[in-house]
């Protein structure tokens, strides 16, 4: 079968000792940073990206994928042991995971998260490999109008799934789009919004935005809280193995979570967070077995379901990125930036022009998942130790990694000034209760959107109806409109608010 010959190519690339080593380093570093409370995958990837600069593209991407999964997994460890979600997608894990830890069952909770994630990761990788070829073929049928509509769909998706106010999410996307336009316009050569600063004619660096808003913004906000609010309660971990009863409870939850996560990850705007929330809701609705612990009191299904779902989704959200070149969420937007730095333009052409890179990356995702489970369960003691390190020692180190990361990108002090400004901006967003993730997505999509809008309207001689008269484009817009209508329906709106409040 074609699928297996593709995967064979991929494993051939990924199983070279050097790439295995990079996958391992990536997972290790990702977990190391991801475990730190208050630092999610976005900040982790932004911080560690410079570590991959010196590598060849395939190894760099393999390492980055490792960092991503490591960060995601590290976040769940923090959620379970410290009652602090490292990132949005483990917000629901906190509810039952921390309760289990308090009852001395942190071990089984961590094992449930790890094993569930591993299973989901395996399925996600297969889904990704299976969907890649047909979707790439669809992608070649896309014209500028379709691409524009697809991006609209992605942005609407991001708005709908943002956890806070819908209006503010729209505002942040627009701000992101505008910030993406800073710099030289490719069509006219005019330097826009650059204030005659030569460095700005290349645009605002995305590392600068990521690091300033997600790195420094978070650190400052953490420091601004009272010490008690960020105190770390590292629970004791005795015995990792879940009991047979745990396994019986976990299994259906893992299966449901994986299925749901794989499906939601593909949707533009979807991703790990949405999948975790949905999985938790479904687990709560599913029938309880006699003698099961209620939800919110330390039910193992409440850990296994969402964790499987968020891992499956983080796997399948690579699908729109790798096949269409459109990042479906903020983490993937960061991946676009990472790929561009290594001179890879994500999109349908990657698979044909760079098959070993494409399939190697997919194979390494599976390897990364396997490594995480090897790395995390036996080494859990080390991560717990790390959690007990006082924050006053940790944060100067985090600030330092950010600064080195920024500087090593361009070896340019101008970036350091910019990141200072964005650190302030990021902190302001946090204080104003604005979720910054949609901004990053808008920022990456900005130039692409303008380019495709321009081309589409140039071809149609300025006729806007081109977006609704072409079948594919019209259906994409219809889905976007539908999503918007659904989320604005009064009953759904109330439900949505409830879900996010509960968590």
């Amino acid at each position: 079968m074609e699928l297996f010959s593709h995967l064979a190519v991929g494993f051939g690339v990924a199983f070279t000792p050097i790439n295995l080593l990079y996958a391992f380093i990536g997972c290790l570093l990702g977990t190391l940073i991801g475990v730190l409370p208050g630092i999610g995958p976005l900040a982790t990837i932004a911080m560690l990206l410079p570590a991959t600069y010196a590598l060849p593209p395939v190894s760099a991407l393999i390492m980055l994928a490792g960092i991503y999964y490591g960060a995601q997994y590290g976040g769940s460890t923090t959620a379970i042991l410290v009652n602090l979600p490292g990132e949005a997608s483990s917000v629901v894990t906190v509810i039952d995971g921390y309760q289990m830890a308090r009852q001395g069952r942190a071990g089984p909770a961590l094992a449930a998260a790890g094993l569930g994630s591993f299973f989901a990761g395996c399925v996600g990788t297969l889904v990704l490999a299976a969907f890649a070829v047909p979707l790439t073929e669809v992608a070649f049928k896309f014209g500028p109008a379709e691409y524009f509509s697809l991006m609209i769909l992605g942005l609407i998706g991001a708005i709908v799934l943002a956890s806070g106010s819908i209006l503010k999410a729209v505002g942040m996307i627009l701000l992101g789009l505008l910030m993406g336009l800073v710099g030289t316009d490719v069509n006219s050569g005019v330097a826009r919004f650059s204030f005659d600063i030569p460095e700005l004619t290349d645009g605002i660096g995305f590392i600068v935005i990521g690091m300033g808003i997600f790195g420094y913004g978070e650190i400052i906000s953490n420091l601004g809280k009272d010490a008690s609010e960020r105190q770390v309660f590292a629970a004791e971990v005795k015995g990792l193995m879940p009991t047979r009863d745990d396994f019986r409870n976990m299994l259906p939850a893992v299966l449901r979570g994986t299925l749901l996560g794989s499906a939601l990850g593909i949707l533009p705007g979807g991703g790990a967070t949405m999948a975790a929330f949905a999985a938790y809701t479904i687990e709560k609705k599913a029938k309880m077995r006699p003698g099961e612990i209620p939800f919110g009191k330390g039910n193992i299904r409440g850990v296994a379901g969402p964790e499987s779902a968020n891992n499956a989704a983080s796997q399948t959200s690579f699908i729109p990125l790798l096949t269409l070149g459109i990042p479906p969420n903020a983490v993937m937007a960061l991946m676009v930036g990472a790929m561009t730095i290594h001179n890879i333009q994500p999109g349908p052409q990657v698979m044909t022009s760079n098959p070993e890179l494409f399939w190697g990356l997919i194979a390494s995702m599976w390897i990364g998942n396997a490594m995480l489970i090897i790395l995390n369960l036996p080494l859990i003691g080390i991560w717990i130790k790390l959690l007990t390190v006082p924050y006053r020692w940790l944060f100067p180190a985090i600030v330092l990694f950010c600064a080195i990361g920024v500087y090593s990108t361009n070896n340019n002090t101008f970036d350091i000034w910019m990141v200072g400004i964005f650190g302030f901006v990021g902190y302001t967003f946090i204080k104003l209760g604005i979720e910054p993730a949609p901004l990053l997505l808008g920022y990456v999509l900005g130039p692409m959107m303008e380019e495709n809008l321009r081309r589409a309207l140039l071809l149609s001689r300025g006729d806007w109806s081109v977006f609704v008269t072409r079948g594919l484009s019209a259906s994409l817009l219809a889905v976007a409109a539908l999503m918007l209508v659904i989320v604005l329906l009064p009953s759904v709106k109330r439900k949505r608010e409830e879900t996010f409040v509960e968590a």
Partner: protein, 162 residues
């Protein structure tokens, strides 16, 4: 008229201001028309849209009741100042400031300065602890970034290395 959500009110004002600024800036470039967009077309409309969203956010902040007024709370000026300052000092020491003729001091000095300044952001500053932390960080960064990853950083000040 009373502000019912302080956070939303100021978010809205922020969106309005930034939106107008971008839209106004866009008019200084050629705007053109849909079939032939100039460099100002897309940013102009995005800016206008953003200002409109800002108005809507401000409006909801004045009409929809919240429990506690959604107050912004105190700005953490101390961490804000020191974290950002440490970052700036790091850049200046590492790369130098050619515009005022300041030579670079290299990675080691930059790391030590950053650690000390950043540590001031927390209210539990302890000189001895921070010194140890700074030395540990400087040595391990030297080993990882310069020895292992071979990034092109100057490790020592210009007047020693040069």
């Amino acid at each position: 008229m009373r502000i019912k959500s302080q956070k939303d009110f100021f978010s809205g004002l922020l969106f309005i201001a930034v939106g107008i600024a971008f839209a106004w800036g866009a008019t200084s470039y050629k705007v053109g028309e849909a079939a032939r967009m100039g460099p100002g077309y897309f940013p102009l409309w995005l800016g206008i849209l953003m200002a409109v969203v800002g108005i809507a956010v401000t409006f909801t902040a004045l009409t929809i009741e919240t429990e506690d007024g959604d107050r912004i709370g105190k700005f953490a000026w101390r961490p804000l100042f020191f974290v950002i300052l440490s970052n700036l000092m790091f850049g200046v020491l590492l790369g130098g400031l050619p515009s005022i003729g300041l030579p670079y001091m290299g990675l080691s000095a930059a790391i030590i300065a950053l650690t000390f300044i950043a540590a001031l952001a927390s209210n539990e500053f302890n000189f001895k602890e921070v010194l140890i932390l700074a030395i540990v960080l400087a040595v391990s960064c030297y080993l990882t970034f310069i020895v292992a990853l071979k990034l092109q950083f100057p490790a020592w000040p210009a007047f020693i290395a040069g």
